[in-house]
């Protein structure tokens, strides 16, 4: 645990990526294989299911620290993170422990959910007693599941690759899917032998960047392939030696969630991995994402939902063909193989159509159909590009349609998370309805650091009332809120729900009386395709 805590401190205290990679590489080359496997497990954002109730954790932390609960909450609000608050409050340790990470995890951490509260408490107090401040911070974060430290998956992969002396793509591939942290896993991860043990493993997804400028800047239109940007669940369909698997971008195996896709997948030729999007599809058109979301939300898939929200897999790339990784081949070539495969597949696997345009202008005009088609805009992909791992710049662009905008008033604020834990960065915005401001959307991105500080100060000085961590502030600040989509919703007070709301601009020029009203937003709704779900 000491070494892992030191690794955490090192990753946390530097902003230089080179140094982070160095720290992790060092850790991995010295740690034993099980510890290394667990470290990678946590650093790549994986975590055990909920281990303990956070209210219990707060209570026991306050008790051991001998502070009253209200003061504990006061501290928590100031720090913004429960794990850290407790680490800061606990009295100094009485003994030191040299137990390795994996033992802490398997013999203590994973034991927690199986224990009754009294034993949980005993276990925690006993472990805190043996740890210094930084160990406690890391330990508490493992417990709360908020273990985040400033290292991206790409850097984790880089460090492992450097340590194992293997290409990052190999490591990335081996890290995909589900795996158990064990010595065997870690040894398999860094082995130079090619294994074909895992038939289901998907490839890391290539991600797009939003196109900021105009598409002309990309050069000749003929070098680019344009497709609709489907609004569904990004997924990979894999078939190897007769075994089929469907993976979501969250690296979750979702084969069972889409019973209509599995039979189609088993008709694919052997040794393929297709990248695409699962969308709700009826007749000849894509249904709004909200419907797909409802279906995903269901625990069991009844006949009714399968009939009302059928899905399709829209294929747009081929990563493996005839058992060979073809990600290094140009897109144009991969696409040819893909077209052949899909043309011989059942209907529920459809090819993502290529949208032709004689000029960028013509294409821009087509893009205007996006809302009608229930898509988010277009994707522009370089025909010569290889299939990148993660967010590679310059090969895939999302060319989204312009968002809707509404002027709304800041009414509630809450402390942010992580880097922003000491700042009021999570806001609720209200719009007018019958002379009152009703909450209509939450947003926490879009402002500059400078603006965030300014709003934070405003919040602290203009709090009317506090509800736990939430502050009700004097309605004074108006922001332009941009969002992608709008729907009727019974769950929301305003009766509408918007998708991806974010702050586009601080309208310092606008008095709150000029903010939008529910009525004007409902008018936007009329322009949306009907949502027959309710």
């Amino acid at each position: 645990m000491k070494q892992f805590a030191a690794l955490y401190a090192c990753l946390d205290e530097t902003t230089k990526t080179g140094r982070k990679v160095e720290c992790l590489r060092e850790y991995l080359s010295h740690a034993d294989s099980v510890d290394a496997a667990w470290a990678i497990y946590f650093l790549s954002g994986r975590k055990p299911k909920r281990l303990i109730r956070s209210t219990d954790l707060s209570q026991w932390g306050a008790e051991v620290a001998a502070v009253p609960m209200w003061l504990f909450e006061e501290c928590h609000e100031s720090v913004g993170d429960l794990a850290e608050t407790i680490a800061l409050l606990l009295p100094d340790p009485t003994i030191a422990s040299h137990m390795p990470l994996h033992q802490w995890v398997t013999e203590k951490l994973l034991l927690l959910p199986k224990l009754d509260p009294t034993s949980q408490k005993e276990l925690l107090i006993d472990s805190w007693r043996q740890m210094d401040r930084i160990e406690r911070l890391v330990w508490n974060k493992l417990i709360t599941g908020a273990f985040r430290v400033g290292i991206s998956q790409a850097l984790v992969i880089r460090a492992i690759a450097e340590m194992a002396n293997l290409p990052p793509a190999v490591i990335a591939h081996r890290l995909m899917g589900t795996w158990e942290p064990s010595a065997e896993f870690f040894n398999g991860l860094i082995t130079h032998e090619i294994e074909d043990a895992d038939l289901t493993r998907p490839y890391p997804f290539c991600l797009a960047h939003p196109l900021q400028g105009s598409p002309e800047e990309l050069g000749e239109i003929d070098d680019w392939l344009a497709e609709w940007k489907w609004d569904g669940i990004r997924a990979q369909m894999v078939r190897r030696k007769g075994v089929i698997s469907i993976w979501s971008r969250g690296e979750e195996l979702v084969t069972d969630r889409f019973p209509e896709l599995a039979p189609a997948a088993s008709e694919l030729p052997d040794g393929v991995a297709i990248d695409g999007e699962i969308v709700a599809w009826k007749g000849d058109q894509v249904l709004p994402f909200s419907l797909l979301q409802q279906r995903i939300g269901r625990k069991t898939l009844g006949k009714k939902i399968l009939e009302s929200v059928p899905v399709r897999f829209i294929a747009f790339d081929l990563l493996e063909y005839e058992g060979v990784d073809i990600r290094e081949r140009p897109l144009a070539e991969r696409r040819l193989h893909l077209e052949k495969i899909v043309s011989e597949s059942p209907d529920s696997i459809t090819l993502s159509s290529v949208e032709q345009g004689g000029s960028w202008n013509e294409l821009a005009l087509r893009r205007e159909e996006s809302r009608q088609r229930n898509v988010e805009g277009m994707m522009l992909k370089s025909r010569q590009s290889t299939y990148g791992v993660g967010r590679v710049t310059g090969i895939w662009w999302k060319w989204k349609i312009n968002p809707y905008t509404v002027d709304a008033v800041l009414i509630y604020a809450q402390l942010g998370h992580g880097r922003r834990a000491s700042l009021y960065t999570d806001y609720t915005f209200g719009i007018w309805h019958e002379g009152k401001l009703v909450p209509f959307a939450k947003a926490y991105s879009g402002l500059t650091d400078e603006e965030i500080r300014e709003v934070d100060r405003f919040v602290r000085q203009n709090t009317i009332e506090r509800f736990g961590p939430v502050r009700h502030v004097r309605p004074e600040l108006v922001f332009e809120i941009a969002f992608e989509n709008i729907q009727l919703s019974k769950r929301h007070k305003s009766g509408i729900a918007v998708r991806f709301p974010r702050m586009q601009r601080w309208r310092k020029d606008k008095p709150i009386g000029e903010a939008d009203s529910l009525e004007s937003i409902r008018a936007l709704l009329e322009r949306e395709p009907a949502d027959d779900s309710s």
Binding site: E13, V67, L71, G80, E84, L137, R453, R457
Partner: protein, 345 residues
């Protein structure tokens, strides 16, 4: 009997002596605990401060300010009260103000710390009936490690940078913290450079007999100077400015009590955050309140409400003493959001 000190729109006021303590507006007569901008406001007709702090104060208030001085512990009669100033251990020339009338004693702590600091006199405990205490770090999450530990961390960071052949830029408050850092770091590691704002204050510290290692004013370094391996102490306001370009490749760090909290550390766009404060932490605040013997405690300047509530729940008679919001007046104040009350740290 009426209170010895009351709040007015200009700040804390003593009616029996007709003077203010650390007023935030211009008044006829002001006693100043120390020269930080949230305590010393220019424009008053007359100032009284301790002799050791006079020079610093006059650079802050301007040459035209009329500053009278007393020695630490020297009682003087003002109107119906007896006033004396006592070391607060915060920065050079920082004082607590003791006010007595007919056997009743009030103490205004100003900013203070009880931890070791080679650049100023140690905090002196003054017994009193009513204590007006600061509470900048008045939450139990603030417990400082021993300053020597922080200095060891800074030295090791500096050494690491030196072996990587890059410079080390340390951001801190220019008055007090910077000099404390200079006195604590290991000058044998490499040359020490200072920003002009800090170098000016170093001189005053030296004039007052404070031992500081040799420092070089950055402006005196020739254009060809390589800063690799050296440390540069700069005010927080220099962060992100073109002034930093001359140092070539460097690692940056920020030194403050707020660095105790990870979120605050991460928000500062620096490579490292070191925890070192010139204020009392939670245990020290409670210790001072306890040993002062005060029955009544007025809390100001920081986490006022939680501190007041805690004291009331633990047998004291406590109340808030609200001061005007004076954050972000200049570089000595922390432009932080982790510190809503805004002050030096």
């Amino acid at each position: 009997m009426p209170d010895l000190l009351v709040t007015t729109p200009s700040g804390l006021y003593c009616p029996s002596g007709d003077f203010h303590v650390d007023p935030w507006r211009a008044v006829p007569s002001a006693i100043i605990t120390h020269a930080h901008s949230d305590h010393a406001t220019a424009g008053s007709a007359r100032y009284l401060t301790v002799d050791e702090g006079a020079k610093v104060l006059s650079t802050r208030l301007g040459p035209e300010a009329l500053i009278q001085t007393v020695r630490y512990g020297e009682p003087i009669r003002i109107g119906d009260v007896t006033v004396s100033l006592h070391p607060a251990g915060h920065i050079l020339g920082s004082s607590q103000v003791r006010i007595e009338r007919g056997g009743e004693v009030w103490v205004v702590t100003g900013d203070y710390k009880t931890a070791h600091d080679a650049t100023c006199r140690p905090f002196e405990l003054v017994r009193c009936h009513t204590l007006i205490t600061e509470s900048t770090f008045g939450l139990p999450i603030y417990r400082w490690q021993h300053p020597s530990k922080t200095f060891a961390e800074i030295n090791s960071w500096w050494e690491t940078n030196k072996s990587a052949k890059i410079a080390s830029v340390l951001f801190s408050y220019s008055l007090g913290k910077a000099q404390r850092l200079l006195s604590g770091i290991d000058a044998s590691i490499g040359p020490i450079y200072c920003h002009g704002a800090i170098e000016r204050l170093n001189q005053i510290y030296r004039d007052n007999g404070v031992l500081l290692p040799e420092t070089i004013y950055v402006g005196d370094a020739s254009r060809k100077t390589s800063f690799a391996g050296s440390i540069i102490v700069a005010p927080t306001s220099a962060r992100g400015t073109p002034w930093l370009r001359r140092f070539g490749e460097f690692s940056s760090a920020y030194v403050s009590g707020w660095m105790q909290i990870r979120g605050a550390r991460r928000r500062r766009a620096v490579d490292r955050g070191f925890t070192l404060s010139d204020h009392a932490d939670w245990p020290a605040l409670l210790d001072v309140i306890q040993t002062s013997g005060a029955e009544r405690v007025l809390v100001t300047h920081g986490f006022v409400d939680p501190m007041v509530r805690w004291l009331n729940e633990n047998g004291w008679q406590a109340a808030p003493l609200h001061t005007e919001f004076r954050g972000e007046l200049d570089e000595t104040s922390e432009p932080s959001t982790a510190n809503p009350e805004g002050s030096d740290s």
